[in-house]
């Protein structure tokens, strides 16, 4: 059975939980079984936010992952705390805008993406979470980019669909930055 996990972490307010939910929704759209499990500190604003998305073509089993095989790390603190947990052979996408020059542990493939700058260029710095998600999909295609784009629309309330363009552009910018070809 094919089982994939993605662990996302960052500061509260960076959209870590939402990025994970969009990934989970895309997995559902793709016909996979999926679980999205959040953990965050008690502060309503700020603090750390993390979530784990597990996808499988059968029952996902544990929604909790000790040593993730894919990591999306949005700031220096989450790199420090969570990169050491990466499984052997894992891939880690790191936001170099907030975590410049991260460590590169043996057995882990580290991809750096200047997510804040790319998001700003796409139209809104708040879309850095989608830049990171796009970059992950380029290097670990757990679901198709098109399904994630559809999931972005699902996640937006009707009155905010007009801002979908910025989000899709951010997603694609991240995908390109990590070597993906959006025309495929």
């Amino acid at each position: 059975m094919n089982r994939q996990d993605v662990f996302l972490a960052g500061l509260g307010g960076q959209g870590v939980l939402l990025a994970g939910q969009i990934l989970a929704q895309a997995a559902l759209r793709s016909g996979l079984e999926v679980s999205w499990f959040p953990a965050y500190s008690p502060e309503v604003r700020g603090g750390e936010a993390t979530c784990t998305v597990v996808m499988a073509d059968g029952p996902v089993g544990s929604p909790i992952v000790g040593r993730p095989r894919a990591l999306v790390l949005m700031d220096a603190g989450s790199v420090e705390r969570h990169l050491p947990r990466a499984a052997e052979g894992a891939i880690a996408v790191i936001n170099s805008s907030l975590a410049p020059d991260p460590p590169r542990p043996d057995g882990v493939r580290v991809i750096t993406v200047p997510a804040n700058e790319l998001a700003q260029a796409a139209g809104s710095e708040r879309s850095a979470n989608l830049v990171m998600l796009g970059a992950l999909l380029a290097v670990r295609p757990v679901v198709a980019l098109s399904e994630v784009e559809a999931a972005v629309l699902d996640a937006l309330p009707a009155h905010r669909r007009s801002s979908a363009g910025v989000n899709i552009e951010a997603l694609r910018a991240g995908y390109r930055a990590a070597g993906g070809d959006v025309s495929v």
């Binding site: 559902l28 999205w36 544990s62 929604p63 992952v65 699902d154």
Partner: protein, 361 residues
């Protein structure tokens, strides 16, 4: 959202799926008080109960919420509340009164780390509270422990029929993992409201019937004993009819792993990995904690070298497992308390070390 099987499924949190399940099951009266990590349940009820002519009341405390349930149940409905560990402690008194009054209700406990104020992290440390509890006196709740968001939805709906059938409080035992995690859910259609027409219910006008008294005060010991015996008879019937559990894993196991709720999810993955390492393990997952699947565990205890119990606590359900095993084989325990999660990797190490130790003996 349609998946490949053509079924419509929606990505929902455990809290939301639980609340919608209750509405589908006929819940129309919900009395709530906020406490993390179950706030999405009262919020969902406040938003959606009016759509079906239902009533949400935010109580001033968990204590009051429980007595609002008592009044609502006395008036004939099957009411609901939800809370998390410290709030469930406060509800114990009211649940005892509901048992004494022979009134049904549905209570959801999304367990968090304790004791005391504890934290908002996942825990299974309320097993004793949920299975021995319901306050003072000689009664217990029927307790069910789903392990996925879909199961939470389904049991939340079923709980109303179960509570009505046995005229007992039903507790749905979740935790901060199940409350907050999101998974695809096949939603049940919203059913009719629970009927108010019950032979014990007050209100609705006498219309020629005798007046009714809902009461838990019975000063004459022999009369109070009769109330207890009636309750016990209904409990015994539930024990005969409501044992629920699931098994996965090796058909000829050397080790039986017993875990419930979110811990069973972790164990399921770890058992698969253990099989890859040549360990023959089987998971037995109690879904009904009260009534507990003693007989099913006893059967395996005759056939395995070891029973391993895994809990997010320092060992509560393990006592029920020992009661089931009755010394037929060793019962080992691994758990953590206060909120840290047990990962599948941790669980695999425990299984491997237990298997290694037993093989050397």
């Amino acid at each position: 959202m349609e998946d490949r099987s053509g079924a419509t499924r929606k990505l929902m949190s455990g809290n939301e799926a639980c609340a919608e399940g209750a509405i589908a099951g006929g819940c129309r009266f919900f009395f709530g008080y906020p406490i993390t990590p179950q706030n999405a349940i009262p919020e969902y009820m406040a938003e959606h109960l009016p759509e079906v002519g239902g009533v949400y009341v935010q109580a001033e405390s968990e204590v009051a919420a429980t007595y609002m349930m008592l009044g609502a149940a006395a008036a004939g409905t099957i009411p609901m509340t939800s809370s998390s560990s410290p709030g469930i402690s406060l509800m114990q008194e009211g649940l005892s009164y509901m048992l004494g009054c022979e009134l049904p209700c549905v209570v959801v406990n999304m367990v968090r780390g304790g004791p005391g104020l504890g934290n908002i992290a996942p825990s299974q440390s309320d097993y004793w509270l949920a299975t021995r509890g319901a306050g003072h006196g000689d009664g217990r709740c029927l307790t069910f422990a789903p392990y996925s968001v879909q199961e939470l939805h389904d049991w939340s709906a079923e709980a109303f029929q179960v509570a009505a059938r046995y005229r007992l409080p039903v507790m749905i035992l979740g935790d901060a993992v199940l409350a907050q995690m999101m998974e695809p859910v096949r939603l049940r259609p919203r059913g009719e409201a629970m009927s108010l027409d019950r032979e014990w219910a007050v209100g609705g006008g006498l219309k020629g019937r005798e007046r009714r008294i809902v009461n838990s005060l019975w000063v004459v010991p022999e009369v109070m004993e009769q109330v207890n015996l009636r309750m016990k008879a209904r409990f015994d019937q539930a024990e005969a009819e409501m044992v629920r559990f699931e098994e996965v894993g090796d058909e000829e196991p050397e080790m039986l792993v017993v875990a419930y709720g979110s811990m069973a999810r972790v164990a399921e993955t770890a058992i698969g990995w253990a099989a890859d390492e040549g360990i023959r393990a089987r998971l037995l997952r109690p879904i009904s904690l009260v009534p507990f699947p003693y007989a099913a565990i006893r059967v395996w205890a005759e056939r395995v070298r070891l029973v391993l119990v895994l809990e997010l606590s320092l060992g509560q359900m393990v006592e029920d497992v020992r009661l089931a095993v009755e010394g037929r084989c060793p019962v080992e325990f691994y758990g953590r308390a206060g909120g840290p999660l047990i990962t599948p990797e941790d669980t695999l190490s425990v299984i491997l070390s237990m298997a290694g130790v037993r093989r050397m003996l």
